[in-house]
């Protein structure tokens, strides 16, 4: 877990420092796209050779859709009072 945070934070700091180096950022952006493709490919291979995964595709798909429905419903329920708080009660959020 520490490693996840370490690499992310190191990246955020590096990105912050590089924010004006357009060329370097372009290269990093392309490498990001490439590594997402590579990792998802590897993840696919791993999942494909895992019988626990290949034996239960339909069930996994069903759970997945149910989970996203729950997450979307929960988010929408909680955003309704926030909308009222930010956009209705306040005169408008334009004090700056």
């Amino acid at each position: 877990m520490i490693n996840v945070f370490l690499f992310l934070s190191a990246g955020i700091i590096t990105g912050w420092c590089l924010k004006k180096r357009k060329k370097a950022l372009f290269v990093f952006d392309k490498s990001l796209t490439a590594s997402v493709f590579l990792l998802l490919f590897l993840f696919g291979v791993e999942a494909g050779t895992n019988e626990q995964v290949t034996g239960s595709f339909l069930k996994t798909g069903f759970s997945a859709i149910l989970l996203s429905t729950g997450a979307v419903a929960g988010s929408i329920i909680l955003i309704i009072p926030v909308y009222k708080l930010i956009f209705k009660d306040d005169p408008k959020e334009e004090k700056k």
């Binding site: 690499f7 992310l8 590897l42 999942a47 929960g74």
Partner: protein, 200 residues
């Protein structure tokens, strides 16, 4: 949308090759993916850190607007967690971790597969892809019945890129700025939240 399809295609090709055993043993039993994940996290961090405009928006207007991603975070975790009652094979913690993907399927599924299990990783991938699809398809309905911010809530982390056009169209320009902000905060939060929940 094109990028999403390419990403899914890479996963699908890998899956196909894995299932039909087309690959040499060395590609299957390796630990490259851990190092590749670290590289990915570093690169994701760079793209976040360099997004100066959004950081400034966060600094200037952050306080009140932070309620938006905060509500979406609480709602996603609670909503996915609640659904786990109907899914005996998925624990509350696992469900919350999938919910914490906020639609950012590539990174959340890769992290979950790496630190938890392939099966939950695949669940996270499919679940968060479907969150994006639900948002693209149902935004007009959500906005009509639950107000303009509901599209931002449904989009989660994708509200800053893939679902932004549909949000801007149906919720308006003012909400599009909120979507960009909220999506960005959730995008940054995803890897941290997923990892923390699974280690809880």
């Amino acid at each position: 949308m094109k990028d999403s399809l390419i990403i899914i295609a890479f996963f699908a090709v890998g899956l196909f090759l894995g299932i039909y055993d087309f690959l040499p043993e060395i590609m299957i039993n390796n630990s490259y993916s851990t190092y590749a994940l670290y590289l990915l996290l570093f690169l994701v961090g760079i793209s976040m850190g360099a997004d100066r405009k959004t950081w400034l928006l966060l600094k200037n207007k952050g306080k009140q607007l932070l309620f938006v991603p905060a509500a979406i975070t609480a709602g996603s975790l609670a909503g996915a967690g609640a659904v786990s009652v109907f899914l005996p094979e998925i624990s509350l913690k696992e469900a919350a971790a999938v919910g914490a993907g906020f639609g950012y399927y590539s990174l959340s599924s890769i992290i979950i597969a790496e630190i938890h299990s392939d099966l939950l990783g695949v669940t996270a991938l499919l679940s968060n892809i479907s969150r994006e699809i639900i948002t693209l398809a149902l935004t007009p309905f959500f906005v009509k019945y639950f107000g303009p911010l509901s599209s931002v809530a449904s989009g989660g982390a994708t509200a800053m890129d893939t679902t932004l056009p549909v949000i801007a169209k149906f919720s308006g320009k003012e909400i599009a700025a909120v979507a960009l902000f909220s999506g960005f905060v959730l995008t940054v939060l995803t890897p941290f939240a997923v990892t923390l929940i699974l280690n809880f």
